[in-house]
Amino acid sequence: MSVRTLQRTLVADTRDYFACDHSHARCIFTIVTASSFQIDVPQALLARACAGDLGAFEQIYRRFERPVYTLALRLLGEPEAARDALHDAMLKVFQRIGQFRGESPFWGWLRQIALNEALMRLRQHDRAETHDDLDAFVDEAPGPWVHADATTLERALGKLPAQTRSVLWLYHVEGYSHPEIAGMVGKTVSFSKSQVARGTQRLREILEPSVGPMSCMIATAN
């Protein structure tokens, strides 16, 4: 196992949840994996796809449609652009499936293609966002996202600049390290760190006003 793979596995491990259902005689462990891409594809299915079987392609497409689309949507922020990225990424996967050598997981190979597609579009639509490098400031207080529902959090994410949102997503959800992200977006490690800090702070600012009035009401009532 390479150092990078080991690091990623350790990061994933720290993020796993173990839920225990005490109503049963034994505990049921639910493991939430680090990335939605981590889907096992049977060798037989891959072999059929390599041989050009359209049915096998469709099965692979169905398995990865949502992870690829979600990644593209989180990075690009626009459903139409995300759909284009999904289309092009899957087309490349099928055209190049013969190049996959099976020495790394198929999902990792596919995710890299999907990520490249999304990043390429992000670069093309980069509106020269300029951000000064900041020291990564991490607020240790629990964030308002703990209480926010999915729709509110998605809306708040959508308000972040594309690059900030992308770095935040790649770091927190896909488990990439700062040096890896810096390499992907062609910036420095400190840029990646500052984007995570900025994104976290900005999300807090966007989400907190919705909590604010409730606090006031409670204070008034008291």
Binding site: M1, S2, R4, V11, T14, R15, V32, A34, C50, G52, L54, F57, E58, Y61, R62, E65, R66, Y69, T70, L73, P79, A82, R83, L86, H87, M90, L91, F94, Q95, R96, G98, Q99, R101, E103, S104, G108, W109, Q112, N116, M120, A136, F137, V138, E140, P142, G143, W145, V146, A148, A150, L153, E154, L157, L168, W169, H172, V173, K193, V196, T200
Partner: protein
């Protein structure tokens, strides 16, 4: 201060977001394109195209050159043999062709074969890695000087860089990075990229000849 564990709350919240689904599936379009494209199993984008266009003629030319050299040496052998006589004058050309064991045309043919068989995998791998480093150094050194790529060139360069990224992913997945095939593919792609950048670099450098840095 900067500790990933302290931000797990946000990571958990983001990862708990439901997966998104496109409004309309892309599959019907993909299926139609894949059905239309009878070559999709073989197509290998820029590299494949270049291979088809250049590699086959290059191989044919190399084979013809090889046949010419072998037959030329066969004719030359008697003359070279005379140079072993004491007192006879050895020309520069003969020095180049005479070796201690080239007694007959048969041994010459055998030597050609031995050269190929002597190229071990390790040597091949080392050569490919050196070539890869050289090309990467050249690309990095000329990056600032070259005019920015535009249009089709930019798309092609991005495509090649993506493919190099994929090869690198596979190389890092291999513990020892000893796969000659992968290194060969990497070098091929870097050469494609260099060729693309080369024309721009030439333009930016006012047409100065810099072929040496590419061929080294």
């Amino acid at each position: 201060m900067h500790d990933r564990n302290r931000q797990l709350n946000l990571a958990d919240a983001l990862r708990a977001l439901p997966l998104e689904t496109p409004e309309h599936s892309v599959w019907p379009e993909l299926a139609a394109e894949l059905s239309r494209d009878s070559q999709f199993g073989i197509r290998d984008s820029v590299k494949g195209e270049r291979m088809r266009r250049f590699a086959i003629p290059a191989l044919l030319a190399a084979a013809l050159a090889g046949i010419f050299v072998v037959s030329f040496r066969r004719h030359e052998t008697p003359t070279s043999a005379q140079t072993t006589n004491p007192g006879s004058r050895i020309t520069n050309h003969e020095i180049a062709t005479v070796t201690p064991d080239n007694a007959s045309s048969n041994t010459n043919s055998a030597k050609v074969g031995n050269v190929h068989s002597a190229a071990t995998d390790a040597a091949q791998l080392a050569a490919l890695q050196r070539r890869s480093q050289d090309l990467e150094r050249w690309l990095s050194e000329t990056g600032d000087v070259a005019a920015p790529l535009q249009g089709q060139d930019l798309l092609a360069a991005t495509e090649i860089e993506n493919l190099i990224g994929l090869v690198d992913v596979e190389l890092t997945a291999k513990r020892q990075m000893q796969d000659t095939g992968l290194w060969k593919r990497r070098v091929d792609l870097l050469e494609d990229l260099s060729a693309l950048r080369y024309s721009n670099y030439q333009l930016a450098a006012g047409g100065r000849v810099i072929a040496a840095s590419l061929t080294n």
